[in-house]
Symmetry: C2
Subunit: 337 residues, 2 copies
DNA sequence: CCTGCACGTCGAAGCGCTTCGATTACTTCC
DNA sequence: GGAAGTAATCGAAGCGCTTCGACGTGCAGG
């Protein structure tokens, strides 16, 4: 194992000089710098992470706490995770992956031991047990999601309320008067993550203003569940001509069932989804949708976290503006509907 | 920040005693032990990870190198990642998430700096550029997947060849004589990950023995691609009555298109999938399938890696035995087919 | 009674790095 | 021409932990 001292000796300088070449925290002459850099390369030197962390009390590691459950938004979570990792690397940070398994204790452990310099929390619940711990730890943190109480944290999320509102607007503009919202599985609502509620609330508010009638049904993302829900929905409200779906797993079942039911999309029924772009593009119908911008969220989260670590930036709440893209699944309400 | 020394002082013992209480590497009297443990609790002490790593040259971190691309097997990857993390924690290890982005350099960095004690590589290609680096680093490593040259590594993977074989057998037993295999997207084959090839090869070998005629078509997991492929397939081989699908994204498009085509599953057409259990259970039809056992793979990988770290266990190749579960998507070949 | 051995504890060295003065050698400016 | 500064480098302290050897103590065996 090659150490700083080895490099110093090889280059004929002191250890501190090598360190300063590496960190750039003091001016070093071009000649010395080159000599040191050559030695580093020749010896194949890699600074020891542990020693570095100990001496500088900075690990250059960000902890990313992921949801344990894989029942929801898997692609989004994965995309966020990968984007966080990629982005963090650009700032010289690595990412430690924590699962929900360990619960709030994980936060204490990772932060208390100085393993991570900062934390990103995914799948944040309204009254998340991890938040008080994190707050008192004083470590920089960014939440992906929106808890009830945001003080002390930077939060990044899609403005789901606005997303819901956009969906209502779009369908209203197309002349629809009665719509159904297929929501996430009931478990998601029970978990109090907030985003599902915010969507439906934003949608309802706008719908009221526009004179749109709304029926909301949480629904598991299986064919069976969807078939059940759909039957009920049409029995209860035969006049429904529009669907808003916020449950990526439910999208294909819905489309497939409508097809079996001889209801044409978009001629008879319009469908708008709140889902990752990929889902909207890849299904049997190119969906009119509001995208969930996973990468952008990850980018914001990491950038802000780094800013907090390095020059302790202020807390902020980033509510990303949703955009509705019209594709092939929505159209004018059928005449006489 | 509370240190070992603080705890020692508070408990009225020396620092080394505290250390030994923590590690259990020397016998400590019950009395002292309790006293120390109380002090630890009272002071809220957390050992500093950096100092520990420096002193012991063990970081208790495993690096998990994930595929960058999210074009394939996302749920499987995610499930593996989470299972790896969960499992590692049970052994007192944390998991550092590396993406493919950085390429082989990531291996060098993480291993050279002592950031990680060991590495798990996912999405291993036949002649993966990371392998030589890893081999010369001498760090314990486990590969998920099967490269051309396995010496020096422990590998964990599903026995895809056997999986293919099982699919052929099942369809042959049901009386099918001509089948089609819907494979992964062409890009997956070009990438030379091997598993897709192994499946088709195992399937072909068994099919030959059983007098089964096979048509193999790699296919993107979109409706459009699937529609195109399906058209071609039935034109080319109208007698086909069975499908084997190894592309989780293609499963629903296939079922949906068959339905539109008025071909009933399983009466007219049998479908067998090689996919995660969840996909097999959640679609419009409960699929006869060979499961991809993500968790089991993760468990094997972590357990063996820990064994290598702690008592440097031998390299092994774990080829998990696939199991075909019969569900609603396969049945006897139609008479006169 | 002394030797030998296990047990329980301590002290000190050292892991590889960062960082804070201190030092030296030049400039620059009045 | 000397004071004052600046640039480039070095030495040493110390980050918080692990670990090795040493040092009592108490007890069994000869």
């Amino acid at each position: 194992m090659v150490t700083l001292a080895d490099v110093a000796q090889h280059a004929g300088v002191s250890a501190s000089t090598v360190s300063y070449v590496l960190s750039g925290k003091r001016t070093i002459s071009a000649v010395t710098k080159q000599r040191v850099e050559r030695s580093i390369k020749e010896l194949g030197y890699h600074p020891n992470a542990g020693a570095r962390a100990l001496a500088s009390s900075r690990s250059n590691i960000i902890a990313l706490m992921m949801p344990l459950r894989t029942d929801m938004y898997v692609p989004v979570m994965m995309e966020i995770a990968i984007a966080v990792a990629t982005n963090a690397r650009e700032h010289g940070f690595d990412v430690l992956m924590l699962t929900g398994e360990e619960g709030p204790a994980a936060v204490r452990r990772v932060v208390g031991s100085g393993l991570a310099d900062a934390v990103i929390l995914m799948d944040v619940e309204l009254n998340d047990a991890r938040l008080p711990l994190l707050r008192e730890s004083g470590r920089p943190a960014v939440l992906i999601g929106l808890p009830a109480q945001t003080t002390g944290f930077t939060c990044v999320d899609l403005d789901f309320s606005e997303a819901g509102s956009l969906c209502a607007e779009h369908l209203a503009e197309l002349g629809h008067r009665e719509i159904a919202v297929i929501g996430e599985a009931p478990a998601v609502y029970e978990r109090k993550t907030g985003f599902a509620e915010r969507t439906i609330q934003g949608l309802r508010t706008r719908a009221r203003q526009l004179g749109l009638r709304v029926l909301h049904r949480p629904c598991e993302g299986t064919y069976a569940a969807m078939a059940g829900a759909l039957g009920q929905i049409f029995t209860e409200r035969p006049g429904i001509t529009g669907f808003v779906v916020q449950n990526e797993q439910a999208v294909e079942p819905l489309l497939s069932l409508l097809r079996q039911d001889r209801r044409a999309v978009p001629e008879d029924i319009s469908v708008v989804a709140v889902c990752p772009e990929q889902v909207a593009l890849q299904g049997s119908v190119r969906l009119t949708s509001v995208a969930i911008p996973a990468r952008e969220m990850a980018r914001h989260a990491v950038d802000h976290l780094i800013a907090k670590i390095e020059r302790d930036a202020d807390d902020e709440v980033f509510l990303l503006r949703p955009e509705l893209v019209v594709r092939a699944s929505s159209g004018p309400a059928p005449v006489g509907g």
